[in-house]
């Protein structure tokens, strides 16, 4: 797959920065149990602003659960998570939604596009309730889709796009609100090797261009090899951190 053209990032949305001296993400002693199984057994993790970190580990090691907790889409049983200096525990639904809208972008393994909406509308979703004019939002979404190589497919529904194209739409959507933190859960897991490689390059490039902290959960050593930091998880704990 041909690499997408890389333009300057659209700057319509101001990126939030962590308070001085604070990392983009901080995880302190997080525990999580599903029934009898303790999936996370006191995880500590720090991701610096603008850094690219990969979390690796076998299936069931707790890496996806950790990502969900960092995204505020799963509740830990114990421990604290801070994203851009904001403690997630005790944050209500509206405030959490606001934090995700302003600071967090998420890319899923299964693309998770809304099937009834076009590529453009899917990318616009995070800004439906943002204080931006319709023209501004459309311009930004169009630019992002052009950056990921889908400028000619703005009005295609997901079903009319290939898996790689759908993931590109998902990446554009994750960057739409100019997040400080981009979380990706096996973003290349459903793609063939070549497409997966192209998508990874895109994520890294866009993350770098947008100055976004990138935290990727992956099984793939090739993905981990591109990361500045690799966190190895085993049995619900951080086993190793490689810089």
């Amino acid at each position: 797959m041909k690499d997408p053209p890389m333009d300057a990032p659209p700057n319509s949305i101001a990126k939030s920065a962590p308070p001085a001296g604070q990392p983009a993400i901080r995880v302190d002693g997080v525990r999580k149990r599903y029934g009898e199984v303790e999936v996370l057994k006191g995880v500590d993790l720090t991701v610096g602003a603008g850094a690219f970190t990969a979390i690796m580990g076998k299936s069931g090691s707790g890496k996806s659960t950790l990502l969900g907790i960092i995204a505020g889409l799963e509740q830990p049983d114990a421990g604290d998570v801070f994203v851009m200096g904001q403690k997630l525990a005790g944050t209500g639904d509206r405030a959490m939604a606001e934090l995700r809208r302003r600071s967090i972008g998420i890319v899923f393994q299964g693309f998770s596009l809304i099937p009834s909406l076009t590529a453009l509308d899917n990318v616009l979703l995070p800004t439906f309730f943002a204080a931006m004019t319709s023209a501004e939002r459309n311009r930004r979404a169009t630019n992002l889709l052009t950056q990921v190589g889908l400028g000619a497919r703005l009005h295609y529904r997901p079903a009319a796009l290939s898996g790689g194209e759908q993931q590109r739409v998902a990446i554009a959507r994750a960057l739409m609100n100019s997040p400080s933190v981009l979380l990706a859960d096996e973003p290349t897991g459903n793609l063939d090797q070549e497409t997966g490689k192209a998508v990874l390059e895109l994520l890294i490039d866009l993350g770098r261009t947008h100055g976004t902290a990138l935290l990727i959960v992956t099984h793939d050593p090739d993905v981990a090899a591109r990361a500045a930091n690799v966190v190895e998880m085993k049995d619900g704990k951080v086993a190793n951190v490689h810089a």
């Binding site: 996806s64 889409l73 939604a97 995700r100 899923f108 998770s112 439906f128 309730f129 859960d185």
Partner: protein, 415 residues
């Protein structure tokens, strides 16, 4: 605007479910509007016979058969209604106006005629004046009479002739076409009330049965505030007692209850049952749509939507369906009402109100009246049905989204 566009995309994307939901709402609205329109038409049709008299209630009292059927007699259903009873009715809450009358048969060896003496009110002599086909109207103090056009033609009477009532003779002032607007409270000869009262007071066969005074009546036409019709009818019925005959739209409805299944309340009950089924369907459709879209909702949460935003989205989708469904239901209802145009009802007129003695062979009359009433869609029912559709759809969205929801990550995670 984005939310609306999203809602439209979603409804079109799931067009099968959207269509079935909108159709169920439309059917409920259609049923509510058409059934109540039909029921309203029936109710209007039943009012027609009495309304054409100009009153809402006709008061009579059953009496006895005169010892001799000769001279001036009161028909059996027209016994004495004393002046104090009339005065009590006049002061009842809801009574707008009242017209007294004296109705008699003049049974002579060589002729028969029905005579109605009536007050000079909008319902009485004034109305007769409007139906004049020849001559001039009469007033309360006139010493002349009006003749029914059929009676005049049959007996070759014309204006200026003299007509006998009992032993007295009266000049014919005019001829009226009373049949034009109905069959109730009709007579062959119309006279001012005072003349009829005087004739009744001195009639031996009347006096043999009743202590009829110069201010009494035996037929009273009452105009009533329609909203208070039922309580007024009840009070008059109680006042007259067992022998009272109180005719109104309500008694007409009772008389037709065997064949008329579409009463106002029956229409509402049927429409309500359909409405309940439609509401259950809307709830079910919303619930299954939301269940199918759990993952989609988790995605929305992941991209920064709060649960309130999601609820608003589902609400907008349901309201859009409600608007489409109710609009379609109203349009079809209007088309159905227009296509049907009107209903035709054959109303059996009460025997008590028959103007002709049944024992006179030549006087056999058809005691039914065929009435056509337009079918008109009630705007208030249309508004109520629209409101119902919107409220049901909104409640379905709220109720479904109030159910316990899973952690979004459980629907989105890779492993």
């Amino acid at each position: 605007m984005d939310v609306l566009r999203y809602a439209m995309s979603e409804l079109i994307f799931r067009r099968g479910r959207s269509l079935v939901t909108a159709v169920s709402i439309a059917l409920a609205v259609l049923a509510a509007v058409v059934l109540t329109a039909l029921a309203g038409s029936y109710a209007r049709a039943l009012r027609v016979p009495i309304e054409t008299v100009g009153a809402d209630v006709i008061m009579q009292e059953q009496g006895d058969i005169p010892p001799k059927l000769e001279g001036l007699v009161f028909p059996h259903p027209n016994a004495l209604i004393p002046a104090p009873v009339v005065a009590q009715v006049r002061t009842m809450p809801g009574v707008i106006g009242l017209t007294r009358a004296v109705y008699m048969w003049d049974l002579e060896p060589d002729r028969y005629e029905s005579v109605l003496g009536i007050e000079d009110t909008d319902v009485g002599l004034a109305t007769l004046g409007e139906r004049l086909v020849d001559g001039k109207p009469i007033k309360a103090d006139s010493r002349a009479v009006l003749l029914d056009s059929d009676f005049a033609a049959k007996n070759h009477f014309k204006v200026g002739d003299t007509v006998k009532i009992g032993a007295a003779a009266f000049p014919v002032a005019g001829i009226v076409d009373a049949a034009r607007t109905g069959k109730l409270v009709r007579a062959d000869v119309y006279v001012p009330l005072a003349i009829a009262q005087a004739l009744a007071t001195s009639a031996p066969e009347v006096r043999a049965l009743y202590p009829f005074g110069p201010d009494d009546a035996n037929l009273v036409l009452v105009k009533v505030n329609r909203e208070q019709l039922e309580p007024v009818v009840t009070k008059i019925t109680d006042l007259l007692g067992k022998k009272g005959v109180v005719s109104s739209e309500l008694s007409m409805r009772q008389a037709l209850s065997g064949v008329m299944f579409l009463s106002q309340s029956m229409g509402l009950i049927v429409a309500s049952i359909i409405g309940v089924f439609a509401a259950a369907f809307v709830w079910r459709a919303t619930a299954s749509s939301v269940a199918e879209r759990r993952r989609e909702m988790a995605v929305l949460q992941a991209v920064g939507w709060s649960w309130r935003h999601i609820r608003e989205q589902v609400l907008v989708e349901n309201l859009a369906l409600a608007v489409v469904g109710t609009a379609a239901g109203l349009v079809v209802a209007a088309v159905v009402a227009l296509a049907l145009g009107h209903i035709t009802v054959t109303v059996d007129l009460p025997w008590d109100l028959s103007s002709t003695p049944h024992f006179i062979p030549s006087a056999t009359v058809d005691r039914t009246q065929v009435i056509t009433a337009p079918i008109a869609v009630s705007w208030s029912m249309a508004a109520l049905a629209t409101l119902g559709g919107v409220v049901v759809s909104a409640l379905a969205a709220f109720a479904v989204l109030a159910l316990p929801r899973p952690q979004p990550w459980s629907l989105l995670r890779s492993e």
